[in-house]
């Protein structure tokens, strides 16, 4: 044991700078809190692996192979040649989950962007300006809220489906239905976020530092996006992560109903749909639905855990460091 008298000279020798620990920045503090959330960390790792699987896997299997049909190989059980088995037209399910993953993740991320941008714009305008702007925007939000999302998804995909030409991204040709699905999911899911952002804006705009920002001649737009918005990033980031999971699920719903992304472009959702179109296969060829289903479950679960972790880490009221 070191006695107290031995410690005193040691402390006296410290320079001023060493006595005071460098203060943690906001980012360091957030990372510290996030690290303590074990499930969120596992979620991040699994998500990373899923991205490697979908985007890295594409370097190992060409897209033509994923769409290659060979009727002599119908509904083969998993084997060395086809680890995930084959579908009723002899396509390799492993290759299809790789390319389907690209689309599903792409839909998840871009639909989230559409959702977050519309949610922020509508919520910020309603919360900041108040008055009739708020009244009009919030009644509009409620109007969309009361219509079940699934119903909106079905009607809109029926209406817009097939009206957008194919496009090519990252060297892949995507059916126009991908864009339709992204937009539809985005515009049917921004309402929660708009309400959160509005509530944040209403309380933040009354804060003294916003008055101080205005007193230095900051124009309204800069006050909204430069001063208020950064203060509500925590709830926005959290709902954005959850929105990715929601969008991937929504894509599988509408694909499952046969209204989403059209084959041969694979997504995890429309692979499930194909598997369920004949009930006998659910029992006889479980590999057909199990792999895409498992990937959806893994993605959505890990994203939800990451969202949970971020919520705790970004909450300024949480004192845990």
């Amino acid at each position: 044991m070191t006695s107290a008298s031995e410690l005193v000279p040691a402390i006296a020798q410290l320079k001023a700078d060493e006595l005071e620990a460098p203060p943690l920045t906001l980012r360091q503090l957030t990372w510290r809190r996030f690290r303590r959330h074990k499930m969120a960390l596992i979620g991040v790792v699994i998500l990373g692996l899923l991205f490697v699987y979908s985007f890295g896997g594409a370097f190992l299997v060409p897209e033509s192979y994923a769409n290659h049909t060979d009727t002599s190989l119908r509904l083969q059980a998993p084997s060395a040649a086809h680890p995930f088995g084959t579908d009723p037209v002899g396509r390799d399910i492993l290759a299809r989950t790789v390319y389907g993953g690209q689309i599903s993740l792409l839909i998840g991320l871009t639909a989230m962007l559409v959702e977050v941008i519309s949610g922020i714009l509508i919520g910020a305008a309603a919360g900041y300006f108040g008055g009739w702007v708020d009244a009009v925007l919030m009644r509009f939000t409620e109007a969309i809220f009361v219509i079940p999302q699934l119903f909106l998804l079905i009607v809109m995909s029926k209406y817009f489906g097939g009206k957008i030409p194919n496009i090519s991204v990252l060297g892949r040709t995507l059916s126009g239905s991908v864009i339709v699905v992204i937009l539809i999911i985005g515009v049917t899911s921004w309402m929660y976020l708009a309400r959160i952002v509005r509530a944040e804006f209403i309380s933040l705009k009354e804060r003294e530092f916003i008055l101080a920002a205005k007193a230095t001649g900051t124009p309204a737009l800069q006050v909204i996006f430069g001063h208020i918005l950064p203060n509500c990033m925590a709830p926005i980031i959290v709902s954005a992560t959850l929105a990715v999971a929601g969008a991937i699920l929504a894509e599988s719903y509408i694909s499952f109903l046969g209204l989403g992304v059209q084959p041969p472009t694979a997504t995890w959702g429309n692979m499930l749909e194909a598997a369920s179109s004949d009930f006998s296969r659910i029992e006889n060829a479980p590999w057909f639905w199990a792999f895409p289903g498992l990937l959806i479950v893994l993605t959505v679960l890990s994203i939800n855990f990451v969202g949970d972790g971020l919520r705790d880490a970004l909450d300024p009221r949480s004192r845990a460091a």
């Binding site: 203060p23 530092f209 916003i210 101080a212 007193a215 950064p230």
Partner: protein, 330 residues
């Protein structure tokens, strides 16, 4: 005052329409501010001190706020009639403001460097690197230790006094002609208060700006202001040079305020004098002198007619029907 006129506020009226009725916050106040002059605005909480300057700055939320009348002419332009984009060029550049609580008036998620450079880039058309260099100079000027290293720090990493220094450097960044200080020392402890007051005095000397210093601390006023206006319930009740106000206060309210101050030359354990009653309900349209219900020298006329501000001596005006020295009507 032979210094040139900088700001002339005339019959300013500010109201708030709320669910409970109209709040008469500022009821026709007029004053002048000359170049390089420091004007103190004193009065108790809720007497309209802050609202009156926020009205001039165009920072009253409308609705529920409403500028019901008057003008605020700054260098021959009426601030109250200015369009918002034009006003944005005045705020921060020509008229700057510092606030009461440095804990809440800095944005918690932006670094202090960003908060200061933003205003420099906007008002002074500086490029980013110049603005950063200027910010370091400013922070050094207001006495922040090691400014270059602290630009990337967030407000929560500073103490209250240091934050107020940051606020002051932000307000003075563009060399304003007028600095409005809204109770800048109220939230600080006494030793820090003294430091901040000394700092502001030094900076005022160096910049040569005019100041409007809002406070309810008459002790701070004595060492800082050239002229004082006393507000009560949204009215201006007395205006005087700082020396005349302390040596020869003429309005019963000012007398009562000064009597309520603790003094080192008075006997210890003596109770401080307080003003009986409470400030008037601002929801009721003012009628008669607002101070009449609490006034020791009240006469019948006070309850029916509100006196206007009249000169009683050179540079000394009061709004009262009574001569407090004799207790007789004037």
């Amino acid at each position: 005052m032979d210094r040139p006129l900088l700001l002339e506020v005339n019959d300013l009226k500010t109201r708030f329409r709320t669910a409970e009725g109209t709040i008469y916050a500022v009821n026709g106040i007029s004053y002048e501010l000359h170049e390089g002059e420091t004007l103190a605005v004193v009065g108790e909480s809720g007497c309209g001190k802050s609202v009156s300057v926020l009205s001039i700055m165009g920072l009253i939320p409308i609705p529920p706020g409403q500028i019901a009348g008057g003008s605020a002419v700054y260098r021959s332009r009426d601030l109250l009639k200015m369009a918002e984009p034009e006003m944005d060029k005045v705020r921060g550049k020509e008229i700057a403001m510092i606030f009461q609580d440095p804990m809440t008036s800095l944005n918690p998620v932006l670094t202090i460097g960003k908060q200061i450079t933003e205003s420099l880039e906007k008002h002074m058309a500086m490029d980013h690197d110049t603005a950063v260099r200027r910010t370091v100079e400013l922070l050094e000027w207001v006495g922040l230790p090691d400014p270059a290293r602290r630009l990337g720090d967030y407000p929560h990493q500073f103490s209250g006094g240091m934050r107020q220094r940051v606020m002051i450097s932000m307000a003075l960044a563009c060399g304003p002609a007028i600095l409005i200080a809204d109770e800048p020392t109220t939230a600080l402890d006494v030793t820090i208060q003294a430091q901040i007051v000394e700092l502001v005095k030094r900076l005022r000397q160096e910049v040569g700006m005019a100041m409007i210093w809002i406070t309810h601390d008459l002790g701070v006023v004595a060492g800082l202001a050239d002229r004082v206006i006393v507000m009560y319930a949204g009215f201006l009740v007395e205006e005087a040079d700082v020396d005349s106000l302390y040596e020869d206060p003429r309005h019963p309210y000012t007398l009562a305020l000064l009597a309520a101050l603790p003094r080192v030359d008075r006997r210890r354990h003596q109770r401080l004098k307080s003003i009986p009653g409470a400030p008037p309900n601002l929801l009721v349209e003012p009628h008669g002198c607002p101070f009449a219900p609490r006034c020791e020298s009240v006469i019948d006329r006070c309850r029916t007619e509100n006196p206007s501000l009249e000169p009683v001596a050179p540079h000394h005006r009061i709004a009262c029907w009574v001569d407090v020295q004799t207790g007789e009507p004037r």
